[in-house]
Amino acid sequence: MNTRENQLIEAIKKEGFRGELFALEDNCTQILFEDQLLSYVKEGENKGYYLRMIDKEGRMGQISFTLIDDFKELIDNCILSASFQKRTPVEFESSSTRTDEGYLDPSFEAVSGRELIGLGNDLINNIKKVNPDIKGPVYIEKNIYNISLITTENAVRSFRKGRINMEIEGKLSKEGDLIQFNRFYSHGRELPDIKAIAQSIERDHASCKNIVNLPSGKYTVILDPEVFEDISRPVEALFNGRSIEKKTSALWDKAGSQIFDSRISIVDDPACPFLENSVPFDDEGVPSTRLDLVKKGIMGDILLDKESSSLLGTKNNGRGFKRRALLGGRTYNAVPQPSVTNLFLKGGDLDREQIFSHSDRAVYIKSLMGTILGHHISGYVSGNVWMGFLVENGSIKGRIKDVVFSINILDALKNNIAGLGRDVYLTKYVSSPFILLKDIQLTSK
């Protein structure tokens, strides 16, 4: 926090109020390639603040802003916001300073725009070797975030965090059939392995040569580790402390009960270094601890922020994050809500070959589209199979199209688990093995 920010906190203290100032600074460099050529460089230095202030009657007001120029106006707006509130159960963090250095690798910070351009060119050249007709935008983005929080109760929190994102929307149109080879990479220290990304596109490209018809029916389904991000979407809604407190989560009274197959264990771990959602503390300054959401199928911890932990009378585990609506990602301008950090589904005992040869006939789902829209608080996930394949006797027979995958995870992860892969794979903020599900309804033309 700089002098101006400290002066604002002092001004709030002087008025006899309590305050918490959250600041997010995003220094961003984004490179865009179109038509396999460099097109755009975007550089941004954006900073925003969220101030929560508790007045003398114990009511909390909140404002957000980008410029600290007029203390009186900021405090008056906070007083106005607070004047409609009842007494808040929230207490701001107090009397400790914590600065975490381990979230930004100094060498990563030095990665230049030219190096990012080099990565993009390298990727495009490798994809061209697979098929020069695979075209579409490639984005490479480096962000250095400065996240800080200061309170009138003398708490100071800060950490810096870096990440590189790479996103490819590779499109190939073949005789009226449009295939998308999408890839997303994000990490806080490692640069993307361009050859590995190109090789995975090459494998999919080879598997897409044939299109096979898939009649509607019940199938053994192999979910690629990347699909865990889709099927875990309900986790945040179901394990959300506020939904539990309001009894709107289907799991509100299931603590300690067997909710999934005993092979399912899900951990939410913010400490795993350099992942998308790795943090030392949440956006309310509370240390984020590792949570066993599900252990051997039994429901364990839930996601708590200051408000929900206080209403439930339980210990806060630091999951109050400010996230952008729908698409996720960091923002300064949002109310903290219980959210997941990095989700890990533990591996099982099957190797890849056992997974693929488990049934004579199975469907391998590599990616889904539209799962963001499901009825997540009920556990329901549904999506179009964006890239999926028919597998017979362990071999891929061809790509399937126009197929809908729909499950309720409360049912499917309890009754339909046929096995889990031994190896786990990390993508973005989730880590998962291959998941083998039996008797899953797939609908197609």
């Binding site: 179109e34 550089e43 941004g44 925003g48 802003f65 509130q85 499109k171 509607s216 539209g370």
Partner: protein
């Protein structure tokens, strides 16, 4: 400061340069149940510089006006460097130089109502579902009034100031029974009329009844069905499934996609007309100038079943040799303008709703939409309110319905278009830019052979 920027841009040694400055005042009121969960007062200031130099683009953002002048030169240097590294050929379509000031034309201004009145109104609304049944477990209400002042200056001499109101108002009602949860929502978002949000008690009662009804509804049996879409579902369908593919930045550099989206190609039956317009005053997607200073217009995308137009920024229009349509939009100063929709519609046809329903044996009636997503030629929708149609009549409600399909096949399968018309509002996401205010509209339509997913 604006005059200084104008002079700096005019003197800049570049192919094109522009500066956006944005001041936004927002008041947000949130209710959780009968309790006010927060009032947020937000004041944001920021801007950006965008420069094209020797076929290279650069874009920089700032929060402090003092930095704007220095950033203009720095951004030009970066653009020059990008141009030296790229073989990308860029041409900006010519547009008239404009000097204009656009003030909001409000039917009813929310600033004339006190914060107390607004809080009382929301509290009253939140109480309606909770008083109706103890199966209603939560109600949340979000009310937001946003006033944006946007200043656009470019190196060609355009200088436009636009002031806009964006009003978002929505209620979400959640019910639970026997381990089953149901969520339904309504929104009254628009750009010019605070009054639209008032006197909605009856609408909220109906919404609550809908939640209670769906707590007893069964999941859909998956299969292939004829689907009758209500106006909001029609609008969302045309936005997601066709509108996004009409955005020229998706096709202008991709030869195979350009061949698919060739003007003159037949995409649907003769009764099908699809438009995108920025001119529908007061609707959430309407605007006078886009974020490149181009006056908006109504664009026919499909006329009588034939592809007639597409949506353009100045760059996509320039490269494709077509006319700009005023579709370059950014959600805020943090992002460069990209090709986006405004109000996307299917025009009304001649069939009555009775005729449409009675022509359907076993089918699905998707009365209202919830959301959708598109990827290339594929789309997915989750309607909010769905019923079976049996023997030509709307029958029992059914839940957890997902539609999916191939855009090109589905457009050809539109069999009937209703004579009614309704406008809905929503938010659109593209890449990292969400939420962008848009509207979508249309009549009832009937589509044959839609894949309907469900876990049964």
């Amino acid at each position: 400061m604006s005059d200084e920027i104008r002079d700096m841009l005019k003197a800049l040694d570049c192919d094109y340069g522009e500066v956006h400055v944005e001041e936004t005042d927002t008041r947000t009121i949130r209710f959780a149940g009968r309790e006010l969960s927060g009032i947020n007062i937000s004041k944001d200031f920021g801007g950006n510089v965008r420069v094209l130099n020797n076929n290279g683009w650069a874009f920089s953002t700032f929060n402090n006006m003092d930095r704007a002048g220095r950033l203009i030169e720095k951004t030009n240097q970066t653009a020059k460097e990008v141009g030296s590294l790229s073989r990308f050929k860029i041409r900006m379509a010519d547009v008239p130089v404009v000097e204009d000031r656009v003030m909001p034309d409000l039917k009813s201004d929310p600033r004339n109502a006190s914060l107390e009145d607004k809080v009382d109104q929301i509290k009253h609304y939140a109480d309606i579902p909770l008083s109706r049944s103890n199966l209603i477990k939560s109600v949340s209400v979000l009310y937001e009034e946003k006033f944006r002042k946007l200043t656009f200056i470019n190196s060609e001499g355009s200088f436009i100031t636009q002031e806009r109101m964006e009003l978002s108002a929505a209620i979400v009602v959640t019910g639970s029974k026997d381990g089953k949860t149901e969520i339904q929502s309504r929104n009254w978002s628009n750009n010019h009329d605070y009054g639209r949000w008032l006197n909605q008690d009856e609408e909220i009662r109906k919404l609550t009844d809908l939640v209670l009804m769906y707590l007893d509804a069964d999941d859909v049996k998956s299969g292939i069905y004829p689907v009758v879409c209500g106006p909001s579902q029609t609008g969302l369908f045309v936005h997601e499934a066709f509108g996004h593919l009409s955005e020229s930045d998706k096709v202008y550099k991709n030869e195979s996609l350009r061949n698919i989206m060739k003007l003159g190609r037949v995409f649907g039956p003769e009764i099908l007309n699809i438009t995108d317009s920025g001119m529908d005053h007061g609707q959430r997607g309407s605007l006078v100038y886009d974020d490149e200073g181009v006056k908006t217009q109504k664009t026919y995308l499909i006329r009588n079943g034939v592809l007639e137009g597409r949506l353009h920024s100045r760059q996509t229009a320039g490269i494709m040799g077509e006319k700009p349509t005023g579709n370059a939009r950014a959600i805020s100063y943090v992002y460069p303008p990209i090709v986006r929709m405004r109000n996307t519609s299917i025009e009304p046809g001649e069939s009555s709703l009775d005729d449409i329903i009675s022509s359907t044996g076993l089918g699905i009636y998707a009365k209202r939409s919830k959301g959708g997503q598109t990827g290339g030629e594929m789309f997915t929708f989750s309607p909010a309110e769905t019923y079976y149609i049996r023997n030509g009549k709307v029958a029992e409600p059914v839940r957890n319905v997902t539609f999916t399909g191939n855009l090109f096949l589905t457009l050809r399968n539109i069999e009937m278009i209703g004579d009614d018309y309704q406008i809905s509002s929503g938010n659109c996401g593209k890449g990292e830019q969400f939420p962008l205010p848009v509207s979508f509209s249309g009549p009832h339509i009937k589509i044959n052979s839609v894949t309907v997913g469900g876990s049964k």
